[in-house]
């Protein structure tokens, strides 16, 4: 009997360990699994490496996790966003390390990640720039490429629109972004959705993330909006 439902975000993240690498979905607030991030704060794991496109805003979501001192390092393409003050302070004081990667390289766990069976691949992005320094390079057909190593994660947390209890997920508009990719890269993948439905309720032609990539689904019927929380001056916890 397959039933991947967890009763709460907290229950879904009970077993996260200190030092874990955690992929966090979202491009800005679109697709950011804010209730799962808050559950991760409650859960208490520390010394985390976070893989995410951004670093959050205000003092909620990712920014709150950073502010709580749980993050040793972020692997990120764009840590600088509107209303972002927590990460800049941690970065300047040296308390959180940053590995900056091009967005397309961050997006390559799908083909490139070890959980896709591809440990390394060549890409033209960043050749001739500081981000390629120290990386192996090679020519194919007269053009130079950088060898990039696929990212992996102990845990992936993402946000979908709807999932069935087998873990099949569909997303909402541009909130899809890193979700399907990071789902494939996590040893454990947890998805928060507005609605968990019975198997058979999602047309198999329209499933975006097949259930095999998902370990736990948790229903958050009315997820908070990062921008609304920030506008209201909210801070977590």
């Amino acid at each position: 009997m397959i039933d991947k439902r967890a009763r709460s975000p907290f229950e879904a993240l009970e077993d996260v360990r200190d030092g874990a690498t955690v992929m966090v979905g979202g491009f800005g607030e679109a697709g950011s699994p804010i209730e799962l991030i808050h559950a991760l704060i409650d859960q208490g794991a520390t010394d985390l490496t976070i893989v995410s496109n951004n670093c959050g805003s205000g003092e909620v979501g990712l920014a709150a996790l950073l502010k709580a001192g749980r993050v040793a390092k972020v692997i990120c393409s764009f840590p600088r966003t509107a209303n972002s003050t927590v990460f800049p302070e941690l970065y300047r004081s040296g308390r959180t390390k940053l590995e900056l990667v091009p967005q397309g390289t961050l997006a390559e766990p799908h083909p490139g990640g070890r959980r896709a069976g591809i440990p390394a691949f060549y890409t033209p992005t960043a050749v001739g720039t500081p981000l390629a320094e120290g990386k192996e390079q090679r020519e194919f057909d007269g053009r130079r490429y950088v060898l990039e190593h696929g990212l992996r994660a102990d845990l992936t947390i993402i946000k979908g629109k709807r999932a069935d209890s087998h873990g099949n997920v569909v997303y909402n508009k541009t909130a899809r972004n890193f979700g399907p990719i990071m789902a494939m890269a996590g040893t454990i993948t947890v998805v928060q959705v507005e609605e968990v439905v019975e198997p058979g309720s999602i047309d198999p032609e329209t499933v975006v993330t097949p259930g095999i990539f998902v370990d736990r689904v948790v229903e958050v019927a009315s997820p908070a909006l990062e921008s609304a929380l920030v506008a209201a001056g909210a801070a977590y916890p």
């Binding site: 009997m1 397959i2 799908h110 083909p111 990640g113 070890r114 959980r115 896709a116 069976g117 591809i118 069935d164 209890s165 087998h166 099949n168 494939m184 019975e198 198997p199 058979g200 198999p204 032609e205 499933v207 097949p210 259930g211 095999i212 990539f213």
Partner: protein, 225 residues
């Protein structure tokens, strides 16, 4: 179905049933063409498995009634199948990301030869005239977490299929975890072939005589279920 039953040991169906006993509830499973396909019929009550077929379906169901098939809903053996509730269709790249990325729990395959170090040969007899064809076999053995082989213990000519080292071209090196034959269940260990279980009416020497490499005994007792 015409079935040449050997004097002793399990039939094809009994082999499939024996494999099915060992698959945990909730497993994601890929079943190869031939005897492995039979496994799905014998999954014990109360266990739910999700079947993957590498041509692009997770949640594959049984064959449809004759005449009800959709030629665009097939398995890797190109036979008509159905889709269970909770199924998903996807393209080949996602399908092989599941395989190569270690997301599948188990693959059950046939074999031409299995060596004592876990090498598997199941795609070519290496004859110069034969048309080579590999499909997804090399991907499956390289990526799936556990590889079970289901096969007759010997060829129709009586040659052992469990060997010291494969003479046929490999599908993968050191990839097989366990072999289910008509005569026995055998694990591949660091020490080589180790008996797990004898088929009813079969004794150790009978199996060893038909195995072209040393067969280690069951660690403690030797149940014959």
């Amino acid at each position: 179905m015409s079935e040449t039953r050997s004097v002793r040991g399990r039939t094809r169906e009994e082999m499939a049933r024996r494999v099915a006993q060992d698959i945990a509830d909730g497993s994601y499973v890929n079943l190869g063409i031939g005897i492995p396909e039979l496994v799905a019929r014998f999954v014990p009550e109360g266990r739910e498995l999700v079947y993957h077929t590498e041509n692009g379906l997770l949640g594959m169901g049984p064959s449809p009634e004759p005449g009800d098939g959709d030629p665009e809903l097939i398995n890797a053996g190109k036979r008509h199948v159905t889709a269970n509730p909770g199924a998903a269709f996807f393209h080949q790249s996602d399908s092989f990301a599941m395989i190569r990325g270690g997301h599948l729990d188990l693959c059950v395959l046939g074999a031409l030869q299995v060596a004592q170090n876990g090498d598997l040969a199941n795609w070519s007899t290496g004859e110069p005239d034969a048309i080579p064809a590999v499909g997804g076999a090399m991907d499956l053995v390289a990526g799936v977490k556990a590889i079970y082989v289901i096969t007759q213990h010997c060829t129709k000519q009586g040659e052992p299929k469990l060997v010291e080292s494969c003479t046929y071209p490999l599908t993968g090196a050191g990839v097989v975890n366990r072999v289910y034959t008509d005569l026995a269940v055998i694990d591949i260990t660091r020490e080589g072939f180790r008996l797990v279980e004898l088929s009813p009416g079969v004794d150790f020497d009978f199996v060893q005589d038909r195995t072209a490499a040393p067969l280690l005994p069951v660690p403690e007792s030797c149940p014959t279920k």
